[in-house]
Subunit: 716 residues, 2 copies
Amino acid sequence: MTLSPAARAAAVAALVNPSSIAIVGASADLAKISGRPLKHLLDRSYAGRILPVNARHAEIAGLRCYATIASLPEAADLAIIAVPARDVAGSIVALGMRGVRAAVIFSSGFGEMGAAGQALEAELVRVAREAGVVMCGPNCLGFINAFDNVYATFSQYADGETGAGAIAFVTQSGAFGTAIAALARQRGLGLGYFINTGNEADLEFSELMSAVIEDPRIKVAAGYLEGVRDGAALIRLAERCRALGKPLVLTKVGRMAAGARAAASHTGALALEDAVFDAVIRQYGVLRARNEEQMLDMLEVLAHDRVAGGNGLGIATQSGGAGVMMADRAEELGLDVPRLGAATRERLAEVMPAFGAAGNPVDVTGQFVARPELLREAVIALMDDARVHIGIVWLQLMTAHVSTLLRIFTEIRDRTSKPLLVCWVAAPAEAIRRLRGEGIIVYPAGERAVEAAAALMRIGRFRQQANAEGRPLAGHRFSPPRAVRAGVQPTVDACGWLRDAGIPIAAAALARDEAQAVALWRRSGAPVALKIESPDITHKTEVGGVLLGLDSAEAIERGFRTLTRRAIDAAPGARIEGVVVQSMATGHLELVVGVKRDPVFGMIVMVGFGGILVEVLRDVAFRRAPFAPEEALRMLGELRMAALLDGVRGRPGVDRVAIARMLATLSEWAAAAEPVLIELDLNPVLVGPDGPVAVDCVMVLDESGEPARQSAVRDP
Amino acid sequence: MTLSPAARAAAVAALVNPSSIAIVGASADLAKISGRPLKHLLDRSYAGRILPVNARHAEIAGLRCYATIASLPEAADLAIIAVPARDVAGSIVALGMRGVRAAVIFSSGFGEMGAAGQALEAELVRVAREAGVVMCGPNCLGFINAFDNVYATFSQYADGETGAGAIAFVTQSGAFGTAIAALARQRGLGLGYFINTGNEADLEFSELMSAVIEDPRIKVAAGYLEGVRDGAALIRLAERCRALGKPLVLTKVGRMAAGARAAASHTGALALEDAVFDAVIRQYGVLRARNEEQMLDMLEVLAHDRVAGGNGLGIATQSGGAGVMMADRAEELGLDVPRLGAATRERLAEVMPAFGAAGNPVDVTGQFVARPELLREAVIALMDDARVHIGIVWLQLMTAHVSTLLRIFTEIRDRTSKPLLVCWVAAPAEAIRRLRGEGIIVYPAGERAVEAAAALMRIGRFRQQANAEGRPLAGHRFSPPRAVRAGVQPTVDACGWLRDAGIPIAAAALARDEAQAVALWRRSGAPVALKIESPDITHKTEVGGVLLGLDSAEAIERGFRTLTRRAIDAAPGARIEGVVVQSMATGHLELVVGVKRDPVFGMIVMVGFGGILVEVLRDVAFRRAPFAPEEALRMLGELRMAALLDGVRGRPGVDRVAIARMLATLSEWAAAAEPVLIELDLNPVLVGPDGPVAVDCVMVLDESGEPARQSAVRDP
C-alpha cells in the first residue's frame, strides 16, 4: 500500500511528535548508537510509550523488550531503526505489516557507500513505499523534539542541555549540523526541533521542515543545505512559512564553482546553479545566511517577537569609530541611518555631554558610566524618532558596571516597542548571560549586529510585499504552445505565440522566395530585417544569416539570395525554409531576456543587459515563473547596471514598468508552457521610448509536433 | 628649540621604552586617571625610575614625589601628563626646560571640544615644538609597552593580564581600541605594544608605529584608523614593515559614503576616498581587515613564524559540507584548492575509510575518533603534497577527545614546516586554550580560517613581489612641466610634454585660422579631428567642440567655422585661441586614464574602462605614483571588466603589457610633476592592435605661468 498524501502528512506529523516509539535493534549498552536514544528518552522523561525490540533481551533499562516487530503491543507512531544496513528493508516490511507508519533510520551503508549502497537504498525506498512507511534517513543522526522530550537521535548534541526554544533547525549534514546546534546552545538559543535528514531517501528537508513549522511553539525555521532535489517542495515550504509569519533562514554551501563541484560529489544532489537558488529563495521571502555564524546571528534576533516597521536604523555608541563602522555596513545592506528629527535632536541635546555627538550615530561617550540616565535617555530619544525602526547600542568592556547596564537596557526595552539590539564588545560573560536571561538581544561585534538588523528589516519588507502585492496567475491565462516540431520552433510561430500572449515582439513573416520577401517588405511600408530560417540553424548571426535595414526591392532580392547562399555555405545540408521578413524595431538600450528549465525549480526567467555586458559582467537577474510585475521591478533593480535604465550621459531613461510588465507576462506564459518549453531566448530585446520589443526569438520545445507542418505566413 | 629629525626619532624611541617616567599631576588615589599609571607601574614592577610630580604630596605609594617639574632629579625619558587642559601647555614648557623630550597627554578638552578646544590644541602644538617635546595625545588613553612593563595608561585594558606578545597595536580610537585589545586578550594574543594616539596633535599613528616596529620582539603590526592625515608617513611605515618582513594589518572605518561622512565629522580628519586608501595600502603590501574580528583572525596566524610558499590550500574535514563551504570561500579569496598529486592520493587511499573522500577537501569523517592515526596520517599526506602550501583541519565538538586531538595536532605540526590552521567549531574551551598553549593556530569557524589563510598567502605574495620587482624611479627621469598659465594648459603643450615623456598620445597642433588648419591636415596626410581650443572651455564635447574624421579642405574650413561658432554660442566671452588639429587614432577598446592629487597620498593614477562603464560601474583602479609596470598589470587585473582586454565576441585582445608600460611611465611623470600637477585626464585612451593612444588630454597645473605666452605650433 502506498500512503495517500493525507496519510503521509499524518505519518510525518506523528513522526516528529510520537505518542509511542519502537526502537528496533535497541541495545542494552546505552552508550552505543543503538542504545543512546533509549537513554535520552528515559533521562528526559519522554511521556509516551517506549518499546524496545531485541530478541536477545526480555527487558532493557527496566522496560519490557519485544522479540520481534510483529510482537509489538501497538502500532507505534515512530520506529527508530539501528540495525545493520542489510536488515533495514526487512524491518521496514515488518513495521508496515504491524501498522507502523514512520521510521527514522540511523543505519549507514546506503547511498553514501558507492554503487552497491545506492542499489540497497533504491530497494529500501521501493520496499518502504509498498509497506506504507515514511522514512527519515538512512545514514542520519535522527532528530530531537525538545518540547515533547522526543530524543530519537544519537547525536553528540543530545549529550548536553537542549532547552526547547522557538527555533526549528533541520540539517542535511550530521557533523556540521551538530556543530551548529552546539553553537546555538552556547548562545542560549533553544532548538525546539533538531532534525538531521541524512541521505533523504524518502523524506527530504522540505517535507520534514514543513511538518515542524506547523507547531505553534516554533517561531522561526532554519535549515542547513548541501543540495536541493525537490525545488517545488522548498517553495511550498517558503510560502507556508510566509503565510504563518515564521521567517525561514537557509545556509547552503556550494556558492562558487569549486564548492558546487565538491558539493555535488559529496551529496550526490544536483549541482544547483547558486545564482538561481539565491534568486528563487529570496523571491519567496527566505533569508540566506552565508555561513553558520550569520545564521545564528539572524536566528538570535528572529526568535524574538518584535518586527521592524521600516529600514531606519538608529545607532548609539560610546565610540565614534564603531558608529562609523556600523553606518558603513548599514549602507551596504540597504539599511538607512536617518538624520534624526528636530524634536529628537533637541531631546538629545538636553542629555548629551558637550563632546558627544547628537547625530545618528549618537556618540554618548564613556560618560554614561558616571551618569547612567544619560545612556537611557539618549537611547530612548533615538528609539522614539519616527524615522528609526530598529535600534543598536554599542558598548565595550564595562566589567565593573554590568548590573547598572542590565537595568538600563531593561528600562529602555520596556519603554519602546521597536526592536533593540545590544552590541557589547569584549563583554564579561556574565553580562551576556544576564542580558539574554532578560530577553535582550546581544551581539559581540558591531557589523554582526547590523547584519542581524538587516535580516529583521528584510523580513518586515517580505511581509509588506506579501500583503501588498497580488499573486501572479500561474498558467491560468495561457495554454502551452503546441510544438510545430521537436527542438527549435519556426520563428514565425514562436513570435506569434508570444505576441498573442501580449509580449511585445517585432512582427515577422516567412518568405519562401524573393518575390514573397519583396511583397512582405512592401506591405510593411518600412525598412525590414531579413533572417535565414532553418530548423538546423539556431544561431543565425553565426552564419551571417541576418541583414538589417533593407528598404528597396533590389536590396530585398539580393538579401534573400545572400542569406540563402551563406546558409548553404556555412551549414551544408541544412534545410532552408526561407527567409523571415521582420519589422525593424528601435531602442537605444539592449536587454537579453530568457527562460530556461531549471532541473530543481522549473521555469526560470532571466533578464540582463545585452552585448558584452552580459558576457563579461554576467549582469543578469533570475526569478522563478510566474511572478508579478512588482517582482519584475525588483529584478531590474538588482542589475548592477540598473542605472542605465534611468539614462546616463544624456540618453533618455526607459520605462521600467513597461519592461516589468513584459517580464511578468512572459513569466506567466512560461509557467503555462512548462510541460513543453525547454528554453527561450529573446536576444536582443530593444528598449526605447515606446517600451521593450523583442527582435529575435529562439524557442526550443521538447514535444514532437506534427511532421513538417507548414507555418502560417503572418503579416509583418 | 625645534628637535632635529634624529633627535625627534630618539625622543619617540625613548617615549615607548623609557628608562624613567615622570607623572605630572600624579594622584595619591591610585584609582583615579592620574593615579592609575603609577599603580600599574608598581604592580608590574617597571624597572625604570618613577618620578611623581605633585606639590601637595611629599610621597605617593612609597615613592618620593616632586613639587615641580623643575625639581625633577633627572630629565625623564617620558612624562605622563594628567592635569586639566588649561595647565597642559605650561607643563610642556616646564618639561622642555627640564630637558624632558617626550610626553603622553591624557588630558581631554582639546580638539574634540569645539573651536575653543581646537585653539587650545593649536597653541599646545606651537608650545611643544618650541619646547622640543614630542607628544602622544592629548585626549588619549596612553600606551603600554608590555615587554618592559611600561604602563603609561589609564585604559581599562590594563586592569587585566596583558601578556607581552609579538603584536604591536596602535589605535586612533580609545574606546574601540580598548575593546580590540580586550578581544586580543580573550584569544590569548599578547600585545607587546598597545598605543592610543588620541587627537594626534603631534605624533600620528604612523610615527608611533614606526618606532615600535623596530623592536625585534615585534613580529606583526596592527592599526585601527579612523582617518589619515600624513599619507607619506603611512607609506614609509608600510615600506619599512615590508623591509623588516613584519606584516602590517589595518582596519579603517569609513568605507562607504555615509560612514566616511560620519568619520570626517567624528575625527576631523580628511575624508579620505576609501577606494584610493584601499588601493594604495595594498600597493605597499598592507593587509586590510574589514573589522576587528577579521583583524584579530589575521593577527592570530601572522604572529606565528610559518610563511606560505604559494596559494595552494589543503583542507581536511570531518564534514563534507564544511569542506564545500571552505572551498567556496577559498575560491572567492584567490586561494587554490588544488587537485592532489597521485602519490598523495595513494597515501590517502591507504588510510581513509571507504565512505570518506580522498580529494581536496579530504573528508576523513568522524571515524578518527576510533582511529586517531587516520586523522594524523591523512593530514600529513595532505600537507606533504607539493601543491599544498597551507593546511586547514576542520572538526567539531569532540568534547571527550581533547587530549587525543591535542596530541595528534602537535604531531602533525612537528611533521610539516607548512602553516597549519585548526578550525574547531563549538570546541570545548579547554581545547582552544591547550592548542594555543602548544602554539597551534585555532579558529572557531571555517570561513574565518580560510580568510586567515588568505592573509598568509597575500603576505607571502607581497614578499615575492618585493623581491622580484624593480622599484620605479620616482621623478629621476622627468622634470616637472613648466606651466604655460595657471589652470588648464594648452592642449598642444600638454600633449607635447606627455609625448616627450614617452606616453603615446595622438599628435596635435594648434591652428589659429582656417588656412593653418587646412595646412596641418595636408601635412598629416590622413583624416584629422578638430577640437576647439580655449582656456575657458575644459570639456570640449559639452559645447560640441569636437569634430572627427575630417578629410577635405572644405570640411576642415567648414569645421573650423562650426567649432568657433559653437564655442561662442555656448560660452560667450570665452577666449578662443584657435582649433587643435589632431591625428585620428584607432582602437576598439576605450579606456580612461587620469592623475589626481589626493590630499593624503599625493599623485594617484587611475585607469578604467571608458564610456558608460566608468560612469555606471565605476570600474576603475587606483595606484599611487610612481609604480612599476608589474604593478600596472595588477591594476588592470583588478578591473571587473578586465576580460574585455583579452577580447570577447570575436574582438581581438589587446596588449596588457603595452598599457601597463604607459601607466607606469605616466606614474613616473606624474610623480615628477607633483609640485605643479593638480589633475590630468586622458579620456579616451583608445587601445587597438598597436597599443594604447591617448586622444584627448586635459591637464590642470597650479602654478602661474608667464602671462598669456603663445604656445608653439607643433606638427600633427
